[in-house]
Amino acid sequence: MALNKELLPDRNRNLEQLYEEFVTRARALGTEVYRVSDLAKARELVVKLVREMGARKVALAESPLVTALDLAAAVAGAGAEVTGGNPRERAGAADLGISSFEMAIAETGTLVQDATEIDQRLVSMLPPAHLAVVSTRRLVGTLMEAIYSLAARGQIPGYLAFISGPSRTADIERVLTIGVHGPGRVVVIFIDEGGCAGE
């Protein structure tokens, strides 16, 4: 694959700047953004958010980060139930879906996920709310950096999902309306330390 090395993600870019840029852009799109220092803090925040949302049923998409966070325990700790059954049933019944992402793009407020496994796709699509967890270190500056870094992997994943905010439409009289087919609420938690997604 032809690749321009200069365009690869620059690991020395100031993470704080990227995070600020992401927050500005993502909030403009209606994404709620949080940031915590470590896994324990992240778990506490998930418990708090599940409670606040009043979610009774939560669908989880398994991933190393979701396992490391021990989210099943967190959901139970919040007094909610982790849904069961086949992936359609699990996601279809949930008030909230939780999954981890492996990249975040600052300039567009976008989350990037290898969604080849069907669980990943369904939990971020069927429930009315979606909670994304991502390691702060996985922030990149631009769409270009994200795509060049995917290209550098050699084999492109079967289903790549780029998500920027809640589902939206303006098809009736150009009036912006949130949550038409996908979730109407998107929350992202950045974790500074201990996040292992995609590593």
């Binding site: 694959m1 032809a2 690749l3 852009r25 799109l29 059954g85 086949n86 992936p87 359609r88 049933e89 279809g92 300039e107 567009t108 407020g109 976008t110 080849t116 496994e117 069907i118 796709r121 369904l122 699509m125 769409l143 270009m144 795509i147 060049y148 995917l150 290209a151 492109i156 994943p157 079967g158 289903y159 790549l160 999902a161 780029f162 998500i163 920027s164 905010g165 809640p166 589902s167 939206r168 439409t169 303006a170 098809d171 009736i172 009289e173 150009r174 009036v175 309306t177 949550g179 038409v180 087919h181 996908g182 979730p183």
Partner: protein, 724 residues
Amino acid sequence: MSKAALRQATREALANTSVCSALGKFADNYVIAREQAYRHKDFEGLRREVARIKREAAERMEELAIQFSREATRRGATVFRAATAQDAREYIARLAKSKDIKTIVKSKSMASEEIHLNEYLKEQGLEAVETDLGEWIIQLACQRPSHMVMPAIHMSRNEVAEIFSREIKEPVEPDISSMVKLARRELRKKFLSSWMGISGANIAVAETGTIVMVTNEGNGRLTTTLPPVHVIIVGLEKLVPRFTDIVPILEVLPRSATAQHITTYVTMITGAVPAVDPNGNYHEQKELHIILLDNGRTRMAGDPVFREALQCVRCAACLNVCPIYQLVGGVFGDVYTGGIGTVLTAFFTDPQKAQQVQNLCLGCERCRDYCSGNIDLPGLIGELRRRTVEKEGMSYVQRVIFEKVLVNRRVFHKLLKAASRLQKPFTREGKIRHLPLFLAGLTEGRSLPAIAEIPFRERVDKLPRPGRVVDRVAFFSGCLVDFVYPGIGESVAKVLASLGFEMLCPEGQTCCGYPARQVGLTNSFTELARQNIAAFENINARYVLTACPTCAEALKFLYPQLLADDPVWSKRARWLAEKVTDFSSFVFAHREKLVPFMIPLKQKVTYHDSCHLKRRLRVTGEPRQLLIDAGAELVEMTPAALCCGFGGSYSIKFPELSRSVLDRKLQAVLGSGAEVVALDCPGCQMQISGGLDHERRPIRVMHTAEILASCIAGTVQVQDGKNN
């Protein structure tokens, strides 16, 4: 579609005020929002990159199709090459029937609109449900999308509520948020029960077999995830060579389409992925069928001129900025609409219809500035017109006018003199307010200036001359200055004289030929170009000046293009082009000599940007600075840069459309509170002063040359809109 049917359709569209206002309102906001979305981005650089990638792809279309097929197949997809619309339709129906599938969910796809898939599936007893909100509304209303990106933009919330009420057989309140919830609920049932999903694609990557889709609602993700059988219909023009080619396309597409930095969802599918069917069974690999659709694309790629249209990324920016599309919406095209729609219609859907529809183009050239694929759309539409005329011919009267009269300078000028005498009964204060019978449309909502009794060419001997000649300038007057506004020519001479330039008016010059080009008569255009080049070759002058941007465009840009393949004339055309400049740019360059002579104007002046001056000659600041130098209080109108709707013979062919575009211009003019409209084009002058006169508005419309001349001490009198 006949000419009369097209006229009728445009009239109906104009009468539908909700469409006009929805499109117009969107268009005004769009320009501002788009600008915002491109902040910190190099649009010119990006679109050059997109054009480069897509041009390469068009040249290697077959090779890329083979590579794509190989890669997608390797990743578990079944790739079908559909040569025609029928091939694609049959493949899908056969596939559904072979699996006993009755209901199909569809995510928005222009390619499926192009092949009229829904009607075909319906005939085959299959139900295809559109799931994009706008598309679903359109489908329930049994209509066609009127815009590539916003299919139901022409409908009001009340109409949508009626349509929904009929569908669910319950009264629905016209509340947008609850109607969106209703759509979510109803369509979710369809998603969960369907065994087949059909989607389109925005990009197809040959190197990896990847399909890229951009959506906002999320229906695209559901369509491509829930049903265990997925069909993607993708036109061959969506192919790009490399995975990284996605970047510039994805940078321009949402910004140009809806002024978003990125759409909510960007989905990249590479081969078959796992699925769970409606019965809950897990499939390691879903069934993925990719239909590579030709349907005229190979023919387009093989056409040396129209190949350029394959650079389109379907952002629909050309529609969003088109003054005619804003008025008539979906009437301007077939499945694909607007500027690019006209060209695509000719190749993909209905060549007959395209021949009529291309006449709707006003020639303002605004779409070219906004095109994400850097396509010369006005050029392609011009070529379409030329080929139509070549194939279909044109009416006897038109042929006589252009091929016999226009190219024969003496006959043409005699005829205009005769017209100047014949018009007398209809003329008052130098304006024609009503014309009899079949010409009535011309003066509908607009007064026309009368043809001058003494044309400019007969006033040349009495033009002001400089006291001391520093240099000589040849003047190309053009028809309007010569026969309608000789005062502009006299003003030019006066300004030049005060700068020390002697103005020469070569006698052999004639019409620049732009009108002949506009109707597709290339031979007449070529003939006129040669006559004009020859006329100026005999004049020893350093510059060739015009006071009409359309003439300037013809002389400076179109002649060299037109005569490029002629070994003798191409050099002569380039020689002339080098010398040509518009009035304001020329005077701007010498303005420090002018300022000391000026008596300040002290009037509120608004400036109208003429399309060809702004878009082809790239002149906007120069006339404004000259007006400020002349002591004018310059006020801008909003929205700025609106076409006046003149478009030469367009105002005769489509008087209602021309008038409607003019209306928006007049509103902007009146809103500025100016006492004078300044401009640099006699065509725009005719249109705008005609409109203001008709509404009895005491606002003067003056060419920049007339304003400057009136400010020079020892002034000759400049008369507003009058001809002598």
